[in-house]
C-alpha cells in the first residue's frame, strides 16, 4: 500500500514539475520592454532550401516533441522556393548595366545643357565661327554620350515574365521622342552649320534644328526626372 502511494506521489510530482517548467519557459518570453537585440547569421550554404532552422535555434525554444511547421507544409510550388543562380546572374548583369545607364545619363546632361546654352553664340553672322564650333563640339559630345547611355539600357537583359509598370513606362515612352530627336538634331545642325558658314540664313529643313533640339532636350529631361522624382502618389 505504501509503495503504491509513493508511486502515485512520484507520478504526480513528475507531471506537476514538468508543467511548471514548461510554463516558466513560456513566461520567460514575456519580459516587456527589454532592449531590441538583432543578430545575423552566416549565409545559408544550402541554396536549394532556406528551411534549415532547427527548433533549438528558434526564439523562446522550449523542448517540444511536435515538429515545427516547415516550408514544405505551406504548399508553395517547388519552383517558387528553389534557388535560381542563372536568374540571379541575369539580374546582376541587368542592374550593373542599368547603373551604368543611369550614371551615363546624368553625365550626358552636362554637355547637353552646355550645348543648349552655347546655342546663343552659334547664330552669329560674322566670319568668326568659334561660337558655332563650340556648340558643334558640345553637341557632338552630348550625342556620343547619349548613344552610350542608350546602349546600356537597350542591351540590359530583362528577366522573363515581368510586366512593365510605374514611372518606367513614361521613362521608356520618352525614349521614342528623344531617341529620334538625338539623330535628327545633329543632322539638322550640320545643315544649319553649313548654311551659316556659307553666309546664308538658315533655311529649309535646317530651320527645324532649334525646335527639334528643344523637344529632344525636353523629353530627355522629363525621362530623367520621371525616375528620379516622384510625381504622384500611388
Amino acid at each position: 500500500m505504501k509503495a503504491i502511494r509513493l508511486k502515485i506521489i512520484a507520478v504526480f510530482l513528475c507531471l506537476t514539475v514538468g508543467s511548471a517548467v514548461s510554463l516558466a519557459q513560456a513566461g520567460n518570453s514575456q519580459q516587456a520592454g527589454a532592449p531590441q537585440d538583432q543578430t545575423t547569421t552566416t549565409p545559408s550554404p544550402d541554396k536549394g532550401s532556406q528551411d534549415k532552422t532547427s527548433p533549438e535555434q528558434l526564439p523562446n525554444a522550449p523542448s517540444s516533441n511536435a515538429p515545427p511547421p516547415s516550408l514544405k507544409d505551406l504548399g508553395f510550388p517547388p519552383e517558387a522556393t528553389q534557388s535560381n543562380a542563372k536568374e540571379q546572374a541575369l539580374l546582376d548583369k541587368r542592374i550593373h548595366m542599368l547603373k551604368i545607364h543611369q550614371r551615363m545619363g546624368l553625365i550626358t546632361t552636362v554637355p547637353m545643357l552646355a550645348a543648349i546654352f552655347s546655342s546663343a553664340g552659334a547664330t552669329g553672322k560674322g566670319k568668326d565661327t568659334t561660337g558655332r564650333d563650340l556648340h558643334l563640339a558640345l553637341g557632338a559630345v552630348a550625342g556620343d554620350l547619349y548613344f552610350i547611355t542608350a546602349y546600356y539600357a537597350i542591351r540590359a537583359p530583362k528577366p522573363p515574365g515581368i510586366e512593365t509598370r510605374g514611372p518606367i513606362r513614361f521613362h521608356k515612352a520618352m525614349a521614342w521622342i528623344h531617341g529620334p530627336g538625338m539623330i535628327l538634331t545633329p543632322i539638322l545642325g550640320a545643315l544649319a552649320y553649313d548654311q551659316k558658314n556659307n553666309g546664308e540664313k538658315v533655311h529649309g529643313i535646317a530651320s527645324a534644328h532649334v525646335p527639334v533640339a528643344i523637344v529632344t532636350a525636353g523629353a530627355f529631361g522629363a525621362a530623367l526626372l520621371s525616375v528620379s522624382i516622384k510625381f504622384y502618389e500611388d
Binding site: 508511486k7 526564439p59 535560381n84 539580374l91 514611372p167
Partner: protein
C-alpha cells in the same frame, strides 16, 4: 492495487491530453516593406504569404513564408532592382518564425521573439510587440518588424548616387484561423 495506480496516473495525465496539438492556418495577409530615400518614400506590398501554426504543450510555433518576387512597389523596374539587391533569385523566400504561448491568444498585445530569414541571412528580433484581435474563430495579428538592410547584409541601393536609408520596417497584417 495496480489498477488504482494506473487510474490515478491516467487521471493525472488527463491535462496533458487536454492540451492536444492544434493547428492554425494563415487566411489573409498584407506584408509591407518601407524604403526611404531623400527623393522617394517607397512601399512594397505582398499578399502572397502563406503560414501555418502548430501548437503543442502550450506553445505555438508559427511559420510565415512569402516569395520575395511577390512584393509590388508599383514600379516594375524598382521591384527588379529590389530582387537583385536582396539576391531574390538565389534566396527566393522570406520566412518569419515565432513561438507564442497558447495562453497569450486572448491578450491584446504580446511581445514575441521573431526570426526572419531573408537574402541568405537570419536575423533575430526580440520582444517585438504584436497586436491581437480575435473575432469569432479568426485572429488578426498586426505589428512591425524593425528590420534593417544591414541585418541581412544588403548593400543599400542608391538613386542619383544617394543610398536609401538602412531602416526597412516590415509591417505585418495577418488573419489566422484554427484548423
Amino acid at each position: 492495487m495496480n489498477k488504482k495506480t494506473i487510474l490515478a496516473a491516467l487521471l493525472l495525465l488527463l491535462p496533458a491530453f487536454a492540451a492536444a496539438d492544434s493547428q492554425w492556418v494563415l487566411d489573409q495577409s498584407t506584408l509591407t516593406y518601407r524604403v526611404s530615400h531623400p527623393l522617394h518614400q517607397t512601399e512594397g506590398v505582398s499578399h502572397a504569404a502563406r503560414g501555418k501554426g502548430v501548437c503543442h504543450a502550450g506553445q505555438c510555433d508559427f511559420l510565415i513564408a512569402v516569395p520575395v518576387k511577390s512584393f509590388d512597389s508599383g514600379d516594375s523596374n524598382r521591384d527588379i532592382h529590389m530582387l537583385q539587391a536582396t539576391r531574390g533569385a538565389e534566396f527566393p523566400m522570406v520566412t518569419v518564425r515565432t513561438r507564442i504561448p497558447e495562453s497569450e491568444r486572448t491578450s491584446a498585445t504580446i511581445l514575441v521573439d521573431i526570426e526572419v530569414e531573408f537574402a541568405g541571412q537570419a536575423a533575430h528580433y526580440k520582444q517585438v510587440p504584436l497586436q491581437l484581435v480575435t473575432q469569432g474563430n479568426q485572429t488578426r495579428i498586426s505589428g512591425t518588424i524593425p528590420a534593417t538592410l544591414a541585418d541581412f547584409k544588403i548593400d543599400p541601393p542608391s538613386l542619383l548616387a544617394i543610398p536609401v536609408k538602412n531602416d526597412v520596417p516590415i509591417r505585418l497584417e495577418m488573419t489566422w484561423h484554427p484548423l
